[in-house]
Amino acid sequence: MTHTAGTFLFSLFFLCLASSVEYVESSQPASLAAEDISTNSNGPKQDSLFDDDPEDLFAEATEEVSLDSPERDVLLSDGPSPAITPITPPTSVITPLAKYTKCIFFPVIEEEEGGDSFDIHISVSDPEKVGEYMTSISLFKRNEFAVKRRFSDFLGLHSKLASKYLHIGYIVPPAPEKSIVGMTKVKVGKEDQSSNEFVEKRRSALERYLMRTVKHPILLKDPDVLQFLESSELPRAVSTQALSSAGLLRMVNKAADAVNKMTIKMNESDAWFEEKQQHFENLDVQLRKLHTSVESLVCHRKELSVNTAQFAKSAAMLGNSEDHTALSRALSQLAEVEEKIDQLHQDQANADFYLFSELLGDYVRLLTAVKGVFDHRMKTWQKWQDSQMLLQKKREAEAKLQFTNKPDKLQQAKDEIKELEGKVQQGERDFEQISKTIRKEVSRFEKERVKDFKTIIIKYLESLVQTQQQLIKYWEAFLPEAKAIS
């Protein structure tokens, strides 16, 4: 079976760590727990109270050979020392877990060597990526699922979630964007640096997207999400063309919304919302600025790496042509050191990019979702007001009808009024609900934001320190050579 549209097949593995899990048969609907689901700790809790039912736990849905890859982001920072375990051979039981408290998810893409041994193939020119996961927390039961997903599946998931939750006030993380240029390059089969970078960029973007989605306690329970994570075959998402035209549609809607905003003058009874909206506006501006700065920094660092490499080459040439042996040797050594430094710079640039720049980009996009949520609240309010006004009009009309002798029209009017009253009440309830939800969401978002930034910044600083230390080591090794010139 071949897929006609060329995209990547992403294999997703995830590891579910449950500290308190209720295993529910797939026939029952997911139940909401009353207890607070903690989203603060990433690591497994020590006091696990789950059932011992190994049969139900292990399931996976892939037939791939897993390969080892060095460049894995281990997302469990405070668990016990992770050991690398290859995936177990397939067992056919698939039991969806209805509720997870923590779900650590590793969508990973990697060059696979198996070649054509798999049924699902995109097209010959596309590299098929095989996923692999790598971690285990030996103290806890593992639920491993491995599924293959295409990029359009991710987009499909997002659009489903957005349609279900955005309008009632939940902040749905936005999916990564399509990139025509990048995909074309890869489809053409260019094996160069930029297409590898593109693949890596997309992979990590999808990873982050899924992490954010499952961190959200409400979204985690959504059946669509569960299906996405677990079932081996996903019904083909709406064709990707439609999705991009959905993007166009979204833009048109946005324009319409902007016009509406100007006309909706909401009586903001709650100063909190106004303040928060202002706050998010500011944050948006700031983050965009930061994002541009980081991008330019990344660009320059890459340039530095290139220039250092060129200098290393020319220094080597100079060393070769120089007669004086000590000087010649020193120059050759210098060339080598510079080469190593160039690699360092390259790595640093990558760190800059993947840690920082992407994070900032993600948050800029998240903020648009946040703003969207606020807009929905306004729309809800508008709807409520509209139905109120309509009710008012109908009441006036009814009052008028009282004096005429048209009993059925009167009855009809009364019925309509009853209906409208119901609607008004519903509108009010909706508005209250969305306001409440937004409050909760915003506070959760802020907490997440601070945590996210802190983690990334710590990682980044560590990488900076490491780079500097390495630099020092290189130069110190070179010093005796330089001294030996005379």
Binding site: H300, N307, Q310, A330, L464, S486
Partner: protein
Amino acid sequence: MMEEVKETASVLSVHDDSIKVTEVLKDGDTLTFIIVSQKLSGTGEYHVDRTYEDFEWLQQHLFSQGDVPGIQGVIFPPLPAKPQVNASPRSIKQLGFLALGECQPYCKALETFLQQVAAHSILSKNKAVEVFLTSSDPPGRQKVKKNIFNRLSQAVEEMRKEGHKDVDEFFQNERDHNLVLTGCTKTAAEKFLDVVATEQKIAVACGHFSTALHLCVEPGEDPDKQAFSRVCVKLSEVFESIKKNMTSVAENNVNTLGLGLDLESRYQEAEREMLFRRTCKLVELENAQRNVEKAKPVKKAAMEEVKKAAETEFEHTSGVAKQEVKSTINNCIPHFHVSFHSGLVC
């Protein structure tokens, strides 16, 4: 206004390694350099101020020593290109490393020029050097008549004569080697310039990032906001210090390896010019020899004279050249030594 400088030999009255270009004064478009040198006898210093035109004057005088035997075999210490206050991109490219930094690399280059001139056994005997370094009045600006360097004609003849095979193996090797080395050094200098330029760009970008982070700081009692602001401030400080580090790294690079490469490259150019002059003399000699053989008896004597003159000149030139080449090797090593040493503080 000084009178015509006498072309008599004289002994320089200052220590050659004590010559320093200490300051640069900017007055509108003109740059004035303050040169300090220690007296040989007794204590005391000479303080003189010179403009770039004065340097050129000195160089002209050195070039025009036509009567000094073998002068053509001298590798003339290179004078850096003219500095400009509001430099055009082309002149910046020409100056290379010397255009970076405040004025320090450029002053160092001028200093090296003067030190090399003063240390040179033949060149330091020229009175113009003494005048330049010690006279409180600016040396004259009049054009000197004889100039053995006509750069334009060199460019034209270069194509033909550059490849002329040498009679002496030592010199042929030296010429070939010099050609390769010049190319390599120039490339290395250019690439290093790129590296330094990029480092400066990174420093600027870090500065921007740091400022942008500062703007993220928000007042408020909300603990989340405060946490976020704290993080931003800390990170902003980190990037500020990264910026400072990068700036000093770039500066250091310029002042050490950059300068070294630049001096080296210009010195090799000067050597190349000297070798070329010698080659021209060789061609002259060979022409003279051919003329003697072809000459009719009437003219033969005259031709013999010409040939003899060419021969002597060539021998002198070669003699001096050989010495110069041998001493060059000792010249460039200290450069690199210093460059590498101090360059490792990044």
